[in-house]
């Protein structure tokens, strides 16, 4: 009896799973059937060759949910679905996107287009032969380069072909500050690293603590520190060294990269610079880290983090939310040795089905107009990767400023992708974080060991 019950249970769960799958794909399957019939009919009447492939449906999935997902669907509806009658684009977002899309691919039912949160995942799928190359879809890479810039397009390159179209990006090189406190102290936002250090010294002399720094992030503790190293490297070593470093050609222990850690060390290990001291950085959750900046009186004056951090500022989303531009603002991470740059993270569209309507969707969606329109939807912090979508497209002043800086950097070729996201995961999501924690916990004397252990994980 017990056995039969166990089997029954197994069978039920199998059926339930089957039921779920049905629901997810049901719509597509129907539309597919319907579209196919219609196309067949058209074909009988002398219709053209490619028409037979048109399923009337393009399914796009990604990790953007809630307001972001709704915004994407809104853009799709206005600029794709209403612009033509051949097909409809549906967006489905999920918080578990990264795992779910792998299951769908392995199960043979991938979406038509997936917006991967980082280029590494696109390359991985390309390696496994699951993707349609942009060249095969009929894209001219030169034209894409002029649309997004060579760097972003090259991130999706594998084995001589391109597999990813740059999608929404966000800006990481922001240093946030408390505006009233800066005004009170008569401080000016620095534009170079030397000015930044001078400002920090001035604050210490005035009895203030310049920096709030926290890299705690549960199982990912350490990543906010890696952003610091990337921002510093991009400027002090330049884009060529940055690319070589990210690709594993320039080891962490090289003089060029080591200097980035030393410069970061100048911030975290200088007495009085960091609230709570360096050894508390990794225990301080990055979401809570900026809070002391808004206490009365402010416990610290500056905090470096990507633009999303405003969602974690005290009172965010409530009635007594802080006001951008009045209570807080940001300045771009300062230049080092005369080099500027911008660090970004972002998504990349990968294509699983070679069909004309898929390409048409991509063309319509990545055109200048819809990309610019994204900036007018409230509550959205995306920045378009298009070179010709500038500051003016964005309604939110913070996002506009970030987009302006990033767009300028993209146009002048000094914008770079978050390096740890591009490194092999055992480095970028493993030893780089771990070693960062070792450095902040017990540095700066262990720097050589720290760098050697990352190089070991990188296979150098």
């Amino acid at each position: 009896m017990r056995i039969s019950r166990a089997i029954a249970l197994g069978a039920v769960s199998a059926m339930l799973l089957a039921g779920c799958t049905t629901n997810v794909y049901e719509e597509g399957a129907f539309a597919g059937g319907g579209g196919g019939d219609a196309a067949d009919a058209a074909g009988g009447g002398g219709g053209g060759g490619n028409e037979a492939d048109n399923t009337g449906q393009v399914l796009v999935s990604g990790a953007n949910t809630g307001v972001e997902g709704a915004a994407l669907q809104e853009i799709y509806d206005t600029y794709v679905n209403e612009a033509q009658d051949d097909f409809t684009v549906t967006y489905s977002g999920s918080d578990g996107f990264e795992q779910e899309v792998i299951l769908q691919i392995e199960g043979g039912t991938p979406p038509d287009v997936a917006s991967f949160p980082q280029p590494g995942a696109v390359i991985e799928q390309a390696e496994q032969g699951n993707l349609v190359a942009l060249e095969d879809l009929g894209y001219d890479i030169e034209e894409l380069n002029s649309r997004f810039g060579e760097y972003l397009v090259s991130l999706g390159e594998y084995d001589g072909k391109h597999y990813g179209i740059p999608d929404l990006v966000n800006f990481k090189s922001a240093v946030w500050y408390n505006v009233p406190a800066f005004e009170e102290g008569g401080y000016e936002t620095p534009e170079t690293w030397d000015e930044l250090i001078a400002l920090s010294d001035q604050m210490v002399a005035d009895g203030l603590t310049p920096w709030c720094l926290g890299t705690g992030s549960d199982a990912a503790t350490g990543w906010p520190g890696t952003d610091w190293i990337e921002d510093i490297t991009l400027r002090q070593a330049g884009v060529d060294d940055y690319d070589a470093w990210v690709n594993g050609e320039l080891p962490f222990s090289s003089d060029s990269i080591k200097r980035s850690w030393e410069l970061f060390g100048d911030i975290i290990f200088t007495d009085g610079y960091v609230l709570g001291g360096a050894n508390n950085i990794s225990g301080n959750d990055f979401r809570d880290a900026p809070d002391p900046m808004f206490q009365d009186p402010p416990q610290c004056m500056m905090h470096r983090q990507a633009t999303f951090i405003t969602n974690f500022f005290p009172g965010a989303g409530s009635d007594d939310e802080l006001t951008a531009g009045e209570d807080y603002d940001f300045f771009p991470f300062p230049d080092i040795d005369g080099n500027s740059g911008a660090l970004m993270a972002g998504q990349m569209l990968a294509i699983f089905r070679n069909a004309p309507e898929v390409k048409e969707y991509l063309d319509l969606y990545t055109a200048q107009e819809p990309q610019c329109a994204l900036g007018t939807i409230a509550g959205i912090s995306f920045i378009s990767p298009r070179l010709d979508v500038g500051e003016d497209c964005y309604d939110n002043i913070i996002i506009a400023q970030a987009a302006g800086t990033l767009n300028e950097a993209l146009n002048s070729g000094v914008a770079r992708f978050d390096g740890s996201d591009l490194m092999p995961p055992e480095v970028g999501s493993g030893e780089f974080w771990n070693s960062m924690n070792n450095y902040t916990d017990s540095g700066p004397d262990n720097l050589d060991d720290v760098l050697a252990s990352i190089d070991a994980a990188f296979g150098n």
Partner: protein, 386 residues
């Protein structure tokens, strides 16, 4: 548990009797083998066909999701039960001496097939993958195992897991036993006191991890109130707040405390039952002979319940060896708190190295097997005594 362990023996006895009564002969034996295989495969196969047909049928219908779900449940439960009934009826049509030898296969066989497909096959495949590279495209020999025993983080995980396996069971059984003995002497409040200890058992590992993360919560001095109980107490004594979960070495102990908190109730309940099973006349005899209470405990009670202690202890060991949730939720294996199950998940899903992940899984499996055997053997012993 006891049913499944003793049932095959009973059934064996029964068929033995049948076998002696009317021997089926050589042709009969062949028929039995044939029908046994058929009966074993019949239910899984028919179930598959039924579910597949049900799926295709439902997939074409434009029904609301709840109706599809309900139909799926009905087909799954009623349908499977009907299949068993049909197969059982078919066996009745066979000659009695053959049918009776085939019947056990019809009922137990499908479970074996399903266990084979969903448990045995993946286990064997995991071992195979552990000898392959990150993307399972080529064989690389023992490289993944070499990695498991040389990588610093991997070695830390082995060290920590060893700590979990030795410390957690001892503390759980120690406290559980102590409490069981002391609670045994309470007059009216025994069940209440035991419930208090047992209560955390109702909380999942994940839930406990989140609860205890608040207990250990830490804020940098001067940036607000300490919301963690431990730091609130610690700072009220005039100390600076401590980031407990990043305190090298100690943080592993702080994580183990969570499991002890969760599992002591289990140890206590089992051991309490065992203590109550120790015959009163033995204890009385010992006391009459002049043994002190401590001597009675160590010389009489403990030896009498030894097999229960071993079963509880080994169960705890397996739990500790497999620990994942607590570590993942509370520290994510950071700050030197890696454990092998956490390494397995990280290699597999964060680093996307299936070979190394499978190698860790295989190693964990091999480490659990001896404890498992000991556990089952002791469990049988204990059952035999009853």
């Amino acid at each position: 548990m006891s049913d499944t362990l003793t049932q095959p023996d009973l059934e064996g006895d029964e068929s033995e009797v049948v076998y002696v009564d009317d021997s089926p002969g050589f042709g009969g034996t062949l028929a039995i083998i044939f029908f046994a295989v058929l009966a074993t495969l019949a239910v899984p196969l028919l179930t598959y066909l039924m579910l597949n047909a049900g799926f295709n049928f439902l997939a074409d219908k434009d029904l609301p999701p709840w109706a599809i779900g309900l139909a799926a449940i009905l087909v799954g439960t009623v349908g499977t039960f009907a299949l068993f009934t049909i197969v059982d009826y078919a066996i009745k049509l066979l000659p009695h001496n053959i049918g009776e030898r085939v019947r056990p296969y019809a009922w137990a066989g499908p479970a074996m097939v399903i266990v084979g497909i969903f448990l045995l096959y993946p286990a064997i495949d995991t071992v195979r993958i552990s000898f392959m590279n990150a993307t399972s495209t080529e064989y690389i020999g023992f490289e993944n195992y070499v990695y498991v025993f040389t990588d610093p983080a991997s070695l830390r995980s082995l060290r920590n897991t060893l700590g979990w396996v030795f410390i957690v069971p001892i503390v759980c059984v120690g406290i559980g036993l102590g409490f069981a003995v002391l609670a045994d002497r309470l007059q009216r409040t025994e069940s209440f006191a035991k419930s208090m200890i047992f209560l955390p058992m109702a909380i999942s590992f994940i839930g406990a991890g989140i609860v205890w993360r608040f207990v250990y919560s830490f804020r940098i001095e001067g940036t607000g109130e300490q919301i963690g109980v431990l730091n609130a107490m610690w700072t009220s004594l005039g100390n600076a707040p401590v980031d407990w979960l990043r305190l090298a070495g100690w943080n592993n102990i702080f994580l183990m405390i969570v499991m002890v908190w969760l599992q002591t109730g289990f140890a206590m309940v089992i051991l309490s039952a065992a203590i109550k099973g120790v015959p009163g006349d033995i204890l009385e005899a010992a006391r009459i002979d002049g043994a002190t209470e401590i001597q009675v405990f160590w010389r009489v009670v403990v030896p009498s319940i030894m097999s229960s202690i071993v079963v509880v202890y080994t169960t705890m060991m397996i739990q500790a060896l497999k620990v994942f949730d607590i570590v993942w939720v509370m520290t994510g294996g950071q700050a030197g708190t890696e454990v092998i199950a956490e390494r397995m998940i990280r290699q597999m899903f964060t680093f996307r190295d299936f070979g190394r992940g499978a190698a860790v899984a295989t190693f964990m499996f091999l480490a659990i097997v001896p404890i498992m055997i000991l556990n089952i053997r002791r469990f049988r012993e204990e059952e035999a005594q009853r």
